[in-house]
Structure formats: C-alpha cells, structure tokens
Symmetry: C2
Subunit: 216 residues, 2 copies
DNA sequence: CGAACCGTTGATGGCTGTCAATTTTGGTGG
DNA sequence: CCACCAAAATTGACAGCCATCAACGGTTCG
C-alpha cells in the first residue's frame, strides 16, 4: 500500500449521491492529472485555493488537525469523486493521498457557468457532511463502524467484498473513535459472523442486513 | 420565549464567514416573509425542496432524527443567515423555528445566475459543517460547550453578553451531549468564573480567553 | 394553586479512551 | 523462498468521562 499507484482500488465510477461521476467539468479550464504517492499532501490548511480535484484512482482523506495532534477526517474520497471546495479562497483543511493515487486538477475560471456545475457537487458534499455528523454525534461505536462499512460497500459497487485503502487510524479519526475501539468492533463483527477479514484491509460483508440493523 | 416574535434576538446582521448577510438574493424570484411560532416546522425531511430560507429574526434549528428518537442538530441559524440547501430536490433534514421567528422565503428559478450567488453560501455552510465535525468527533464536553459559547458570542456581535434562544436539549443535540452534561459544564464554567448566568438563557462571557484556551 | 416543563444536581454504571503487551502483516534483503 | 524487521493491528487491564436514572427547585401557564 506504500508503492505509488500500486492498486487502483475500484474503478467503479458511480457517483454516490447521483450527483457526481467521472464526467469532466466541462466549463473548467484545461486540466492535468497529478500523481501522489501514499501520504503525499495534495493541499494544506491555509493554502490559497484555486482548483477543484477529482480522484482518478486511489483514495484521498480530507482532515483537520488540532494543536495537540487530534485529527478529524471529514471525508474519504475514491475514484470519480470531487473534493477541494473552499469558501473564501483558502483551504480550511488538509488533503492527502491515502495510497498511491491520481488526481485530476481543475483550475477554476470563477464564472457563472462553473457555479452551475459545481453547486450540485457542493450541495451533495454538504448533505454528506451533515449526515456524517449524526453518525459521529449520536451513534455508538458499533453503529459508526457498521455505517462506515456499508458506506464503503456502497461506494465500491455494492459488492460484498471491499478493499479498505485506509488504516484503522484513519477509520478512527473519521468516526471519532480510537484505533483500539475500531479494532475491537471489527473483531466483534467477525465473531458474530457479520464480516470476514482477509488481512486487515480486505473485508467481506457476510450479513449486510445485520449491519444495517445496527444503524437503526 | 414561547410567544411568537417575542424577542428579535440579535438584529446584528454580520455574515459569519463574511459570505452571507442580510442582502437579498438579487436573482431569486419575488419572495415573502413567513412567521413561525416556537417549535413550528419550516420544512420536513423528505419534502420537496424548492426554496431557500433566510432568517429575518428569531432562530432556527436544522436537524435529523433516528428511528429511536436520537436527534442531531447540524446547525443553528440566526438573523441574516441562509439555510435550506438540499442536493437532489428533496430535504434531508428538518428545520424548525426555535423561538418565534420570521423567515424570508426565496423560490428558486434554477439558473446559472442564482448558482453564482448561492455557491458561496453553500460552501460556507460546508466549511462550517466540517468544522463542527471536529468539535463533535474529537473534543471533550467542556471544549464543545466552550466552542459553542464562543460561536454564539461571535454571531451576536462579539458582545460579551449573549441570549440563547435554544434550550439545553437543543444545545446537547447540537454538541452530541446530554442535557445533564451540558448543564454540568455550564455550572462548572460558572464556578470557575468563566461565565455568569442570568436565568438559564442569558449568559455573560467573563473570560473569553479561558474558553478559547479550552478549544486548544 | 397545581401541573408541566426546564434546568440543576447527585449517584451509579457502562462505553470507550488510555496504557501496555503481544501478534500479525507487509516489505526488504539475504 | 525464507529470515528478519518495522509498522500496523489485535487483545487485555484499567480508569475516566459521560450517559443514565433519579430527585429536586424554579418558572410559566392554565
């Protein structure tokens, strides 16, 4: 998982909310594809923002840090998804490649036509963020992990077998849990027969209904 | 706090991220102002969305419910702020007046010109939601309440004296805490001399630096 | 004046964080 | 192909924070 571009993950390009897909942003200016190796920074908090990013393959984490090192990942992005929205010309977050990844970079000619294309993407991101708030704010550890696994399954074509690009630490920082708690929940799900693990990053969802029930 | 339109809260209209204010959405169609009494529903989850909303006075909560009644408030909105963004033509959340409130309703002629106006508002909302994720996912109870109080102070013109429109239950559901925990933290802050309470909804911020320090 | 609601405070338990040790995994080099 | 190593993941013990349950005071409204 350290070698750049080592595993294209999933090339399934279905937009998650039906709002975004692999199609190019027609009105954006000529763009380029940039490769990032694992843990490479795509942009940093405070940087000037003048582009949008679309994952070609690989996976990206977008996060924020506190002074003492606590981290909150606000979103993961996989192939086809667009990220990098910012509100005042500056990035408020960090974005890093999780594994070797390719990202298409759209520079923005801040025009009305672009707004029309971008708005639905931004709104979808907003809804996702707000829904994730419910997970982090009001659900127990098991429910959070269940929601995460189902979300990942959903994004990888609803196949019952998923490949996680991210570590337990990433998952924990996404769900507001520690690595230990994430690990314990994985073990618990395995013991109950809900999932099967082949290595730590490969998960078979054996009983999606059981996981779905946990989300209430 | 129950009588409609009883207390205009703050008419200070400074947009929080500098991105939204009291100015009308120029390109939107003729609009109307609607009054809502306390706890009145403005829109419900699943409803068709065809409007944006701007608070004239009062306060609004936007939230989501789980089947068992757990609630997560994703945002509060006060005078001048715009809410009601949705991604696929349907509302994914509930919106209610917290106290008697007036809301200006903009019906949307889905055009490019409108997108240009709305996009910055949507992006600001996105950043706020993602920042709130950090609070809920990674901060302790005291830090969450401190962040909340400072945010409220910020929105009411940075005056050290703030009027809370919302109950402890609302605050708890916003911060991912119980009413008891919220109440305990308020008491703790009062004991430490960080705040002073005049009634349960009126708060004087005596040591904003102390609260700021807690947010790390 | 009583009922209902809201907020506060106390006692207790459980979930999850913390600390620590061990095992597994994945990668490297012989 | 196997040995070795560092990093990641798992598991256990324990503590602490916060949720839960409960009781009580204050305020509002009928």
């Amino acid at each position: 998982m350290t070698a750049p571009a080592s595993r294209p993950q999933s090339i399934h390009l279905r937009g998650h909310n039906g709002a975004q897909g692999p199609a190019a942003l027609a009105a954006a200016q000529p763009h380029q594809v940039q490769f990032y190796s694992a843990n490479a920074e795509i942009y940093g908090q405070g940087e000037k923002a003048r582009a949008l990013y679309q994952v070609e393959f690989g996976a990206v984490r977008v996060y924020r840090l506190m002074a003492d090192g606590r981290r909150q990942i606000s979103a993961f992005h996989v192939a086809g998804e667009v990220f990098g929205f910012e509100s005042d010309g500056h990035h408020h977050f960090f974005a890093e490649a999780i594994c070797g990844s390719a990202v298409r970079i759209y520079t923005l000619p801040v025009g009305a036509d672009v707004s029309r294309e971008i708005l639905p993407l931004a709104l979808a991101a907003l809804v996702r963020a707000q829904e994730h708030l419910m997970v982090v704010g009001r659900q127990h550890a098991c429910e959070r992990v269940a929601a995460f696994l189902l979300d990942m399954m959903d994004r990888q074509g609803e196949l019952p077998s998923i490949e996680l690009a991210m570590s337990r630490a990433d998952i924990g920082d996404y769900l507001g849990l520690t690595i230990e708690t994430v690990s314990r929940v994985f073990s618990k799900f395995r013991a109950k027969g809900y999932i099967r693990l082949s290595g730590s990053r490969s998960v078979d969802i054996l009983k999606p209904e059981a996981l779905l029930d946990m989300c209430v």
